[in-house]
């Protein structure tokens, strides 16, 4: 029974990796690489990394202890079988963390994650009533409303870094925060809506795409202005450089939107992500790729609009 459940979960994970456009084996290698990089970076840069690491593992377990998920599991597995399943999946979830803590010789953390593994199997976590986070984008909702709500803490952290950098005269760091804000905005377009949401528009594909890009420019401007305006005051001589980076940000934002709708309602896969990376590394390629993607996006949207 436990083996069957594990096999099913394994198949589900494989399908998810496959849907992302990677062979499952590559996905596991990539996932492992990212996990090691994250863990190594955390232990190298962050104070009390051991406890931060344990907290991350606990959050992971809390997701598995979510009440609706466990209600479902309890309808499938009765009594001790249910408990065994919960212990098993918690153990799988904390194993990579425990192994890394072991390699680091962080014994307290090692014990704590296993305690969390066992305790987590006996408790359920109810997702509390979510507070409504106000956004400045309510008049034109969707990507920026949802994205802002998911990233506002990180956004305010970036504002703090940007303002501090500007105050101490570190222009490079301030520019970097602008780019990071644009990077956040790019990620807002990873959300995949249903074809119904696109279909609802009484616009031509061209009008739809232009409207999306126009809104993205306006809304991203709202997000970068709090960093840009103080920068312009302090580094006025570098206004041209700041403008250049803004143009870069807008260009890649347009790229992300157009690329999304070339394959919509399918998800952008790893090949598309690679294309963006190539364009970031060799910026002029963007001007060759973008018109082609634009034409493909119009053709693709014509099926829905």
């Amino acid at each position: 029974m436990l083996l069957e459940y594990a096999k099913l979960q394994f198949r589900i994970i494989n399908r998810a990796i496959d849907a992302f456009g990677l062979p499952p084996s590559w996905g596991y290698v990539l996932g492992l690489g990212l996990f090691v990089a994250f863990s190594g970076g955390l232990f190298a840069k962050v104070a009390y990394a051991e406890f931060v690491y344990v907290a991350v593992a606990c959050l992971w377990i809390a997701r598995l202890s979510e009440i609706k998920r466990n209600d479902f599991l309890q309808t499938c597995f009765v009594g001790k079988a249910y408990r065994r399943v919960r212990l098993f999946e918690n153990a799988i979830a904390v194993s990579p963390f425990a192994l890394f803590l072991l390699v680091q010789g962080a014994w307290i953390g090692f014990v704590l994650v296993w305690v969390a593994c066992v305790v987590g199997a006996f408790y359920r976590v109810r997702a509390g009533k979510q507070a409504i986070i106000p956004t400045p984008f309510g008049r034109v909702p969707f990507e920026f409303v949802i994205g802002f709500r998911g990233t506002f803490l990180f956004l305010f952290l970036l504002y703090g870094v940007g303002w501090t950098a500007t105050a101490v005269g570190n222009g490079e760091l301030a520019v970097l925060t602008i780019l990071l804000i644009f990077y956040l905005c790019l990620n807002y377009y990873n959300l995949l809506e249903s074809d119904y949401w696109v279909w609802s528009h009484n616009l031509t594909p061209r009008q739809f795409l232009h409207q999306k890009i126009r809104q993205a420019f306006l809304q991203s401007t709202c997000l970068v202005l709090p960093v840009c305006l103080p920068m312009l005051v302090v580094f006025f001589d570098y206004a041209g450089v700041i403008a250049l980076f803004l143009v870069l940000g807008y260009a890649f934002l347009a790229f992300a939107i157009i690329q999304k709708y070339t394959v919509f309602p399918e998800m952008v896969n790893v090949g598309h992500a690679l294309l963006m990376v190539i364009c970031i590394m060799f910026f002029p390629i963007l001007f060759i790729v973008l018109p082609t993607l634009y034409a493909r996006a119009l053709k693709n949207l014509a099926h829905i609009l």
């Binding site: 979510q130 409303v145 998911g150 809506e193 119904y196 009484n202």
Partner: protein, 228 residues
């Protein structure tokens, strides 16, 4: 008026709809009934233009999708969006201003809460409200009564009758035959992708009986064979 001629739809070698010929007049309410998998939702998605198809679907008032309010069986919502924002989004999509929601919130929905906190019925009601606010001329309501409480069922029936009085054209599918009897001018029985029967008011009862016979058949006897 919507005219459908020789509509056919297949997914690979699987024929889902075939030889569909229909005319939906202005101000008419039309019911589509059929078992799960009969092709009701595919038919609606074809009419909406959400699926490619063979045959023709024409609308006397121009591009159908621009004045069509489509309520899917299961509407899609993101977690961190409120009811008010969803309505705003769908009104924006049709360049319609969002009206005063305090007055137009006929289902008394908690519009400033995230939709993820809504029940199935509340999501359905939000979907209905959105397509009403868009000011459409045509409506496709795919299972509008699913998951909705009795009080709201009554309200939905009244809404359909009100839309009919305003000369709107409405297509409804429902598993509850009686709800269609209350509202429809004609009911079409769809089976494995083509129409088996059509009935007007006088024939509704006979159609209901025929459906019952067709659906139940010898299944009770078969059930007896392993229950008793």
């Amino acid at each position: 008026m919507i005219v459908i001629k020789q509509l056919a739809k297949s997914y690979g070698s699987r024929q889902v709809l075939q030889n569909i010929n229909l005319t939906f007049a202005q101000g008419g309410v039309y019911g589509i009934v059929g078992e799960n998998g009969a092709g009701k939702t595919t038919l609606f998605r074809c009419i909406a233009g959400l699926e490619s198809y063979e045959g023709t679907i024409t609308c006397s008032t121009g591009i159908l999708k621009n004045s069509l309010g489509y309520l899917p069986t299961e509407a899609f919502f993101f977690a961190h969006i409120t009811g008010r924002e969803y309505l705003q989004m769908l009104c924006n999509a049709r360049q319609k201003p969002l009206p005063d929601l305090q007055a137009s919130n006929i289902f008394e929905l908690p519009l400033d809460q995230y939709i993820s906190a809504y029940s199935t019925g509340m999501k359905k009601k939000l979907g209905i409200m959105a397509i009403l606010l868009q000011g459409n001329d045509y409506f496709i309501l795919d299972e509008p009564y699913n998951g909705v409480d009795i009080q709201s069922n009554l309200l939905i029936t009244e809404i359909i009758l009100k839309l009919k009085s305003l000369r709107k054209t409405i297509l409804i599918s429902s598993h509850i035959f009686s709800t269609l009897q209350d509202t429809c001018d004609e009911i079409y029985w769809l089976q494995t992708g083509s129409f088996l029967q059509k009935a007007t008011h006088e024939g509704f009862e006979a159609m209901g009986e025929a459906m019952k016979q067709n659906t139940i058949g010898d299944k009770m006897a078969r059930l007896d064979s392993f229950l008793c």
